[in-house]
Structure formats: C-alpha cells, structure tokens
Amino acid sequence: MRTPSFQVHSPTTLSEALQIANSLKKQKTEFDWISGGTDLIPNYKWGINPRSNVISISGVDELGGISKTRIGAMARLQDIVESSEAHPLIAEAAASVASVMIRRSGTLGGNLCLDTRCFWLNQSETWRKSIEYCHKCDEGTGADCRVIPNQNELCVATYQGDLAPALMCLDATIHLASLNSTRSMPLEDFFQNDGITRNVLKPGEIVTHIELPDDSLRRFGSYQKLRHRDAWDFPEGGVAFSVGVDRDGSVSSLNMASTGFESIPRKHGDLISSLGKGPNWALEAERLGAELKRSVRPVLNTWFPPRYRKKMASVLARRAMEEASKRVTSA
C-alpha cells in the first residue's frame, strides 16, 4: 500500500486554517481536513477519494481541550478516556474505539466526521475495479450502489462512529466555524442521511468543539456496542442511553441514540417519549428494545448480517437501560 502524494498545510491557528481552506476553495482545489488521520489515511491508501491537499489541524491548539462542558475537536480519544473531566458516558464510548494506539491518534472531531463504511467501498482500487466501482466512489463511471442496486441515488454506507450516540444522549451541541462565520446546532442535526454527504459541513467549514449542557453531570448512562472482537472492530451496532436525575431524585430526562445501524447516528426521541418520566422507566427496557429493533434499518454492508444486527438492537438497548439504571442507583 502506498499513500498517494498530497500537499500538507499545517496552520497553527484556527483563522489561519480557515484562510487556507478558503483559498483552496477559491482555487477549486479539493482538500480534506486531517486530524488524527486514522480513518482518512487508510482510505487514501485504498484510493478512496484522495485529495491533492490536506489541512492538518493538529497544530491548532485552540481546537483542543477537555472540560466538563466543552470538548475540542482535536481532543484525542485516549485523552478523553483518561480525562477526569470528560463525562463518563463519553469516556466509555471513546474507550470502545479501535485500540489504544489508534485512540492516541484519533480525535473527537474525526470520530464525529468519520467517513461512512461499506464492504463494497473499503477495498483497494483493483478490488473496486473488479466490481466496476460503486456509487460512493465511482471513478467517473456513474456506477450504481452495490448494496441496493438500481437506485443510483442514495449511498447507504454505514456510519460507524462510537461517540455520536453518547454525545446525543447528553444533548450535546456541535460548533462549526468557517472563514467568516460560526454556527452551532444540536448534534443530531449535524448528520445528514446520505452516505456521501454525511453531514452539514460545507466546503471550508470545520468542527471546532462540542458543548454539553450544565446538567450533563446529573446524567447517567451507558453505551453498549456490538462487534465481533473486543478491539479494533467498528461497531456493528451501538446504543447509548442516558437518564437525567434531579437533585430530588426524580427523572428529568431520558435519551437514547444509536449508531452503526444506518448511514447516520440517530437520536430516538420518538421512542423515548413513550417512556414517560416516571420512576418505573427501567421496567420498560424490554419493550423499548423491541421498538428500537423495529425502528433501525441496517443493510448488508458490514461484517454481521442486517437481520442479526437488527435483533441485537433490542438487546443493546435493554442492556444500556439496565446498566444506566444500575448507575443511577449506585450514584
């Protein structure tokens, strides 16, 4: 494997980074942001949409930092795991990513912006040529989607980031910046249900940090991940659940979010609303799990077959709720 050559830009401030991005945009030069590179570089090596320019943000200090209510996009996943500041639910999800070595390189922003994955896509150039490419990386052939053929519109590659569902359960807000403006939104609005566009980021725009509400410390949760091996593997399905508890012990919020089942991570507000906020929410774990199973729509493009992943959604949801319930009790 050889990494195709590209030009690296190494800004040291955010504004410099955004200026470089803007000027590349003006020149109509395609580029990628690179932070840890643990996702991007393997894709480049496989010839999956490599760009001639990359802007490395690892020297931009203002994008780092981990606090109780703010985590910078450049925060390394292992630092989040080891941090005493980061919310335990986020640390739990981060600790499940790949392996220690990859986590020391990978970042929060990179994990949120993780490219979608599909076994028809994440292959070498010769391999993809043998199936005449696919919709997401068609090398100019206009190739069809290999998962759901004859539609040629939507890419159904699977989103397999671990952090998004945990952050969603904490009602995180994501902050973006471009040359002349910044914007923020609830994390669930950041993602777009298309394996190619993936999220709302515009060319030249970048994730700067995520912000958590002040009450996040009063939330207890669990992230349950389905995968074949306890290291390296991306989630074949992941469910996070959180419960917010007021000082008087009453339930103030319930949240559930999933990843690894579809092209986006999803927050399941609709399912949660049926729970009510009574003290007996945990008794409904079985039912909620079954509803989540009905709700998710996995396709055949990851290691486990979709039928199995769908069934496991209910187990994961139930276990996340049971675990969260335990943590509330012990808190």
Binding site: M1, R2, S5, F119, W120, N122, Q123, S124, E125, T126, W127, K129, S130, I131, L226, H228, R229, D230, A231, W232, D233, W303, F304, P305, R307, Y308, K311, M312, V315
Partner: protein, 964 residues
C-alpha cells in the same frame, strides 16, 4: 556491481560471534567464587541463553574446560536412569540415552535467532536491500474467470522510470509444488482463474512508478462463466478451470478424488448410536505477519540469487530452474527470516518467478513486496469444506464405523491439494480403534484464490467433525466423553485401519491430565446456562513418510553437515527452514547435547542453498524429527573422533569415556579427563577441520493400496484439550475462558518452544472456531482481504492456556521427540464446539461459529422448545448409563495393556481390529473375508453416492476413449 562476498556477509547473521574476554582468573581455591561461576549458578533455573549479552559470555575460551571452574559438572538429574543418572524414564530407555550430556536437551532454551528479531536486526524478505535495486509490481486480474485475448504493455513500457515488463509469454513452463499437479505459471498464459491472478509484471525505478505502470498495462479479456460454489465444481463444465489432458476427470472441475473402504462396513448396521451431520467449514488464511516479499538478483557470473521468506526453499529452487530454463546449480535460494509461514509460504510462487524474470531482463536486483490483499489472493489457506460425518458406536461402546465424505474447495490451482484430499480422510483413522472406515473425498477447482496447506494440513476440519460426533455419541450412550475415548484408544506400537504404523502414543496420558487439571468431573454438564466445558482430541503426522520429489531409497529426507575447525565452534549446515518455529535452535541443541557444548559454540548455516544440504523444508511437521535425527547422526561421528582422540591421550578405553560440559572424561572417575579443545586438536592432527555428515530417512512402512502413502509418518503426535467457555445466549458471542492443552510431543527438546507452539496453536485454531473466515460476497468477490475484515482474535479473545507437555519417548525420534508444530492446533476447535454445547445445548456444524450464526441456532433451539427468551434455555444434563462402568473397566484394562506394550522392547504386532475380535497379530483382511480394503468404488456405491463421492461418477478421459 558489488563484491559478492561482501554482500553475503550482511546476511550471515548467525556468524557474528560476540567478543570473548580473556580468561584471567587463576586456578585456585577461590575459583568457584568468580563472578562468571556465580552467574552460571543463578542461571540454572532460567532460560538457556536468555541473559547473555554481547561481549559478556559466561565462559572463557571455548574448550578451556577440564580443570576450569567454568566447566559444569554433569547434572545427574539430566542424565537418564539407563545411563546411571537420576532422570526418571517412565516410558523406558531410548536409543539416544548414551548421547545425553545433560547440556541443553529438555531445558527451556531461548531461540538462537530471537535477539536478531527483538533488536530489529533480522533481515526479512522486504528488508533485503541490494545496491541498484528496482521495484517490481504485479498486474493482477480484475476478472473472476476469463480468457486473456491480449496483453498490451506498450503504454507502461513507455513511461519514464519503467525498465521492463514481462508477460506469460516470457515463462511458458508450468510449475507447482507437487510434480503430479504442475498447473501454475509465472503469469497467465491463456486464462485468468480468479481475481488477483497474475497477468503481467513491471519493473520500475521506484514503487510509485511501478504501481502507476502496472495500471497502464492493457488487458483484453473474454469473460467465461465463473464458479464459486464447490458443489458446482463436481458438474461437467464447458470450460473446466484446468485441463488435465487424458487424466481429466469427466469434463468437470474435479482435481482429485479419493475412495477408501476399510474394515467390516456391514457391521455399521448393528450400531446403537450414530452421529450424522453435514458440516460446512469456511476457508481460513494463515494470517502471518509478514506479507510475501522477494528479491531476485543475477550476479555478474550469471547466477541467480533469490532472497525469499520461504518454508521450502528447495521447491522454489526446482521450480525456478524449470521456469527460467537454467540448471539448478546456477541458482542460490537464500531464505531470509520468515515472518510466519504456517504453510502459506511453502509453495513455489509466481511472484518469485516474476522477480527473477524482471531481474534477468533489467540486470538489476528486483524487489517485489505484497500488499495484504495480495497475500489473500495468493492464499493457500485451509480449504473451505463440506464434510458429511457419520460415526457409529455399538452396544459395547466401540466405534463400529466412521464414514466421511469431504468435498474441499481448492480455488484456482492444485497447490498441495492432492495430499489435502487424502488427509481429510486418513488423518482421522487414529487415535481410536475403529471397526470400519469409509472415506470419499474430492477436491474441485473454483474461481477463487487457491487453497493449500495450512497448519494442521487437511486434518483440522474433519477432526473437528469427528470429535464433536464422539461428544454427541457419548451423550446418546449415556457415558462421559472422556471415558468413551479412553476405552477406545489404539495401543502403542500398533497399526491403524489404513495401515499407518503408530509407535509411541501418549493419548491416554493427555486425556487423563486434562481431565484432572481442568477439574472436569466437577464441571462437565454441571455448570449453569452459558457456562460450559468440552473436550477434543487430535492426531497428526510427525513428518511425511514419503518425500514429494524423490524416491526415499535414493536420497535421505534430511541431511546435516558439521564442520569444526581449531576454534572449537561448530558450524552446522542444514537446509531446514527456520520459519520462527525454532528449527535452527533445535538442530543446534541436538549437536550441542551430543558434543557437550554450550549453545554459544554452535552456529547454524541454514539460509542458502549454496551452503546447505538439500532439505525438504518446513512442512508436515517434519523438521525436529528428521533434521534433529540427522544432526544427531552427524554429531555422533564427531563425538566418536573426539573420544578416540581422548582415549589416546588419557590411555583409557573408549567405552569408559563420556562427554560433559566441554570435557571428555572417565565415566567412573570424572576427575580424569581432558578438555574438549585438547581432544579436538588431537583429532585434527594430520587432517585439520573435522567434518561430518548425518542424514535421516524413514523406515519402510505402510500398506500397498493406492494412496497408502498419504498420511504415513515415522511417528505421530497426540493431543487432548479441554476448553471452558462463557456463551452470551442473547447475542451468541462466545468467550473462551480457559484451555487446558495436553500435547504428546514425544520429548520436549525445548519446552519453551513446545509451550509456545501449543499456545500459538490455540490462538490460531480459536480464530477458525469463533471468527476467522474468508468471506465471499454474492459476486464471488472476497469481501475481507485485509486484517480489519479478516478477524484474527485479539488479546481480548485469547483465553488463558495451560500447556501440558506429555512425553511418550518415541523410539525413533531424536532423544524421543516428535512434532509440536501442527498437531496442537487440532483439538481446540472441537473442544470449544463441545464446550458451547455443554453451555447452551446447541450443537454446531458450521465454522466459524460467529455470533450471528450461533444466535440463529439459539433461536431455532428456542422455537423448537417453545421458549421465547433464550435465557430460559435448558442446558444439557448427564445421566450415566450402565455402559459407563463397562467403559471405565475397559479403559483401565487398556491402560495396563498400553503400559506393558510401551515398555516392551519388542512388543507383539497389534493391528486395528483386535477390539472387534480380530486376530491382532495379522492384518484383519488376511483372516476375515468380510474385512474390506477397497480404493475404487463399486457399482453399488455409485448408484447412490454422497456429495464428494459423486466425483466418481465421472470417467477419466483416457478410460472414456478406451471404452468409446
């Protein structure tokens, strides 16, 4: 061009001798308090060679033993009882006992090349850098199966930086690892047979250019209909993947078929318990760390040197001569360090030919290194198989018959497949005594990467089915599965139903040890849902009885040369390929032991065909048995020279002298003796360096029927494992918690290595049980040709393994040793499958047992029992039936029978069949007209053949023509 001699030195790594400090201490009373002597004391319990630092050797001038305080006394605990020592010999004396000096054999010894590896100085395939090297890149097919109409390299050749291209036309000669099935070419001649098949190659100044140029080679194809399902391979095809000429079987894709029937098949009808299941095994890859890499260089004299991480340098040597059309003596095959082989680097490979062809065209060294994906396309991993397994037991709890039908998917080429087809059957004719054996096997070509030899070659899948079957039968009979096995074992010095001569057997001890150490009686069928324990056994060859390439009566299997000059160090020339298993160390140990020398005085030259005697290489678990035996023979010659010399100096009869640590002395009066160096110099008078040659060949053995040689070995290894698992019934995921792994390796020459092999085997076998598979999608593409998608167990999946070494003292093995490289892999698969059954009551017949598959089985079991929540599944219980007592008694009787036989220096003949009332001293077919020996199917069988057996419905072309 560089000076050849200089360059060679770079790779002669084992020759680098650490500086030896001068010995200054004066002989006197204080001598035992020297620091060096203390170090030796403290090291006794440590691993031999572990603490040694460069320039800080623990001994002074080699050979300055004698009165030197640094010559250790013989440790009576290391000397066998037969020689007056204290080493217990529960399995009797051995022919090598008199050679034991107590130096290294049986001691935990660090591999002699380990420091090169841990310091990063070991030169692997891709580490070879020759001046002026250029990079080769292969052009690979993106079609499953197609005729190659044209290959146009003009565009690639015109690129700046591109130095040469080559296509199939440059090397029309076919090659293959087995002389009977040469079906490979350096590059495609007429057809491409799978995605990744090689069509052409390019050489360029650098890798980037080579990659771009390889994409500029234009190929015109005419697509042919590919086949991916091995069952389709049995059918006639318009375009069979290969054409075997008059030997072609029908018009099908059957490459090899086997039919065997032994014993009283008719008695199967009287069985009271039967297990019949159709198994599916996915293909697995070796998953070695180092991808294939090769460097080829033609020197100014026109000789080719090929640097390659090969398990079998000799076969590449032969194939290169054929393909390049030059004599073998013009080729030097240089085996680099091998970053794992496991059978996957034992074929001669097309890329090795391509490198040589490109180097010849350009006159410059050419290096080719694979991407991981190319490793998967080259494959040679374990065959995907469909095995129909039937085991029958009679009312006395005897195995009245095993019927196996194995269809194996060979992929695009033959590789070792001819042998694999036999091994799938014949390697489960032991360790049990059986009343009948019926095996039908077929190997077919499909349009996938070629399958080949992989650790446990051909034996693994069918062994798994057999052992799971026995577990099931024991449940039907109401007996403990370990009792059932113990009551049906072949005794030592017996012949299996197909005529294999089995010498030492430690099977019984393996089973007894794991039963005890795992606390089996307290756990089996007694743990809560989700927790389970299971047992499995294994049987494997220790070296192949017949060499692939020559008549064993003409050439030996293994040869070792020794050379000792005035310095006293011993240079060992062997062709055995150290692929990480420690063959250099074990051959060195054999020499060191016989000559009474420390390992530091042994240097191994095993890398180059120019300086090594021909060896068949590292496959079929043959190296320790054959090479160490050859090394012992060679060392005996030198030993005899030394003793003669010592005898003349000491004026003592030769028979009264023994060797110890760098010393030759009177056995009765150890103070009377001379140093090794003194004896050596005396022996060298008038002749200079001592040289000796030793060789090994197998004794004549086996029956005469067609295919009788497949599976013949001078010795066999045995193993029994118990695995304990934790199954998540809601997700189907399996966590193997602990494995007790007993392996009979005859004698652990280096217990450290044996334990490493056992633990490594558990890891590799575990992969095949729980996660590893080469997954093909609906388009026939391999979906996971990378190490993220190909799921090798991580440290989290790895259980605690308790290695238990059983030493059955093989009469012909070096110091009693047999193999430990492949056999230990076999039992882990069935042990885990049986433990899963114990945990949740679900029997599998499909590997790998991935969570999704196991969960599907759990769902089925639930719906069958009308249970909605899998957490309510009942797990199996054991109710012992009266047969249990009968079996225990028989096992006890057999145990004393076996002990008697193993200590008997000339035991009476024992042929499989005695348990069924046959006369043990003769082959049963000579006494019993109903005892079958049949290797061609009869009409009756062909009326209703099994899956693989249906390959016999085809007629070979030559017979067809004769009959038409």
């Amino acid at each position: 061009m560089t000076d050849l001699d200089d360059r060679d030195d770079v790779f002669e790594d084992l020759e680098v001798e650490p500086e030896v400090p001068e010995y200054k201490s004066k002989v006197g009373k204080k001598r035992f308090k020297t620091k060096a002597a203390k170090t030796i004391e403290t090291e006794k319990s440590e691993i031999v060679g572990y603490r040694q630092q460069p320039g800080k050797l623990d001994f002074t001038r080699p050979g300055s033993g004698g009165s030197s305080p640094l010559s250790e006394r013989r440790d009576p605990k290391m000397i066998p009882r037969s020689q007056g020592g204290e080493l217990e010999q529960p399995w009797g004396p051995h022919r090598h006992d008199s050679l034991v000096t107590g130096r290294v054999i049986g001691k935990r010894t660090a591999l002699i090349d380990s420091k090169w590896k841990v310091t990063g100085q070991a030169v692997y395939g891709d580490d070879v850098r020759l001046p002026g090297e250029i990079i080769g890149r292969l052009v690979r097919s993106d079609r499953h199966y197609a005729r190659v109409l044209s290959v146009d390299v003009t565009e690639a050749e015109a690129m700046p930086g591109v130095l040469a291209t080559a296509t199939g036309l440059d090397a029309p000669s076919a090659f293959g690892v087995l002389p009977v099935t040469k079906d490979e070419h350096a590059m495609a001649i007429e057809k491409v047979r799978h995605i990744g098949d090689i069509i052409a190659c390019v050489a360029a100044e650098d890798e980037a250019t080579a990659r771009i140029a390889s994409q500029a080679v234009r190929v015109e194809y005419q697509d042919l209909d590919p086949i991916f399902d091995m069952r389709d391979g049995l059918k006639d095809s318009e375009n069979p993947i290969h054409d075997r000429g008059v030997y072609h079987i029908g018009e099908s894709n059957v490459q090899k078929r086997v039919f065997q029937r032994f014993g009283r098949i008719s008695d199967i009808e009287d069985s009271v318990a039967s297990y019949e299941r159709d198994w599916t095994f996915k293909g697995v890859n070796h998953g070695f760390t180092e991808p294939h890499a090769v460097v080829a260089h033609w020197d100014p004299r026109g000789r080719l040197t090929l640097y390659t991480p090969q398990q079998v340098p000799h076969y590449v040597h032969r194939a290169l001569a054929d393909v390049l059309n030059i004599p073998m003596h013009q080729i030097n095959v240089h085996r680099t360090y091998v970053g794992g082989g496991f059978g996957g680097k034992s074929d001669p490979f097309p890329h090795e030919m391509c490198a040589a062809i490109l180097a010849r065209k350009t006159g410059r060294p050419v290096r080719i290194t694979f991407d991981r994906e190319e490793v998967f396309w080259t494959n040679r991993g374990r065959h995907p198989s469909r095995i129909s397994m039937a085991i029958h037991a009679d009312e006395e709890g005897r195995f009245s018959g095993i019927e196996t039908d194995a269809l194996i998917d060979g992929g695009g080429f033959a590789s070792f497949g001819h042998v694999t087809t036999y091994y799938n059957g014949v390697l489960h004719t032991a360790p049990y005594e059986i009343g009948a054996f019926h095996y039908t096997g077929a190997r077919v070509w499909t349009n996938k990467p070629a399958s080949g030899a992989m650790r446990g070659h051909g034996a693994v899948n069918s062994r798994c089915a057999v052992e799971v079957g026995i577990d099931d039968i024991s449940e039907q009979l109401g007996v403990d599965p370990i009792d059932l096995r113990l009551a049906n074992l072949l005794p030592p010095h017996s012949a299996t139903i197909t005529g294999f001569r089995v010498t030492s057997i430690g099977m019984r001890e393996c089973l007894e040890r794991v039963r005890k150490e795992s606390n089996w009686e307290k756990k089996f069928r007694k743990m809560p849902l989700g927790k389970g324990i299971g047992v499995g056994c294994g049987f494997f060859i220790s070296g192949s009885g017949l060499p692939i390439h020559w008549d064993p009566n003409k050439f030996p299997h293994a040869t070792v040369h020794l050379k000792i000059d005035m310095d006293g160090g011993v240079t060992v020339h062997t062709g055995a390929a150290d692929i990480g298993q420690g063959s250099d160390t074990v051959v060195g140990q054999a020499v060191a032991e016989v000559l009474g020398l420390p390992m530091d005085m042994i240097r191994i030259k095993s890398k180059e065909s120019d300086t090594s005697p021909v060896d068949l290489g590292s496959y079929s678990s043959r190296v320790t048995f054959m090479n160490a035996n050859a090394a012992v023979s060679a060392a005996m010659e030198i030993r005899s020279d030394l003793i003669t010399a010592a005898s003349s100096i000491l004026d003592l009869d030769e028979s009264k002298l023994v060797l110890g640590d760098r010393r030759i002395f009177s056995k009765r009066n150890p103070e009377v003796g001379i140093s090794y160096l003194e004896a050596l110099h005396k022996a060298q008078e008038d002749r200079g360096a001592l040289v000796a040659s030793g060789s090994y060949r197998t004794p004549p053995m086996g029956k005469m029927h067609k295919g009788a040689a497949a599976g013949l070995a001078p010795a066999y290894s045995f193993s029994a494992y118990v695995a304990e698992v934790d199954v998540d019934v809601e997700t189907g995921s399996i966590k193997v918690e602990k494995v007790w792994a007993a392996h009979d390796c005859g004698k652990a020459l280096n217990p450290l290595s044996v334990e490493g092999q056992i633990i490594g085997s558990c890891h590799m076998g575990l992969g095949q049980v729980i996660s590893e598979e080469m997954k093909y999608g609906r388009t026939g593409n391999l979906l996971n040709p990378d190490l993220l998608g190909y799921k090798i167990p991580t440290v989290h999946e790895m259980p605690e393994v308790v290695p238990i070494i059983v030493e059955s003292n093989d009469p012909e093995g070096p110091f009693g040793a047999k193999e430990a490289g492949e056999g230990p892999l076999l039992p882990i698969l069935p042990a885990v499958c049986n433990a899963v059954y114990d945990a949740i009551g679900v029997r599998t017949s499909e590997l790998p047992l991935t969570p999704d598959k196991l969960f599907r089985s759990i769902e089925k079991a639930c719906s069958k029992k009308g249970i909605s929540d899998p957490r309510d599944l009942p797990n199996p219980k054991l109710e012992l039936k009266p047969l249990s007592k009968i079996l225990k008694k028989r096992a006890k009787d057999h145990s004393s029978r076996d002990r008697k036989r193993r200590l008997d220096s000339s035991p009476e003949a024992y042929f499989n069949g005695q348990l069924f009332g046959q006369e043990p001293s003769n082959p049963p077919e000579e006494n019993d007209p109903e005892w079958m020996v049949q290797v061609i199917p009869d009409k009756e069988y062909l009326e209703n053949p099994k899956l693989a057996g249906s390959a016999w419905l085809h007629k070979e072309r030559r017979h067809r023509r004769a009959s038409e």
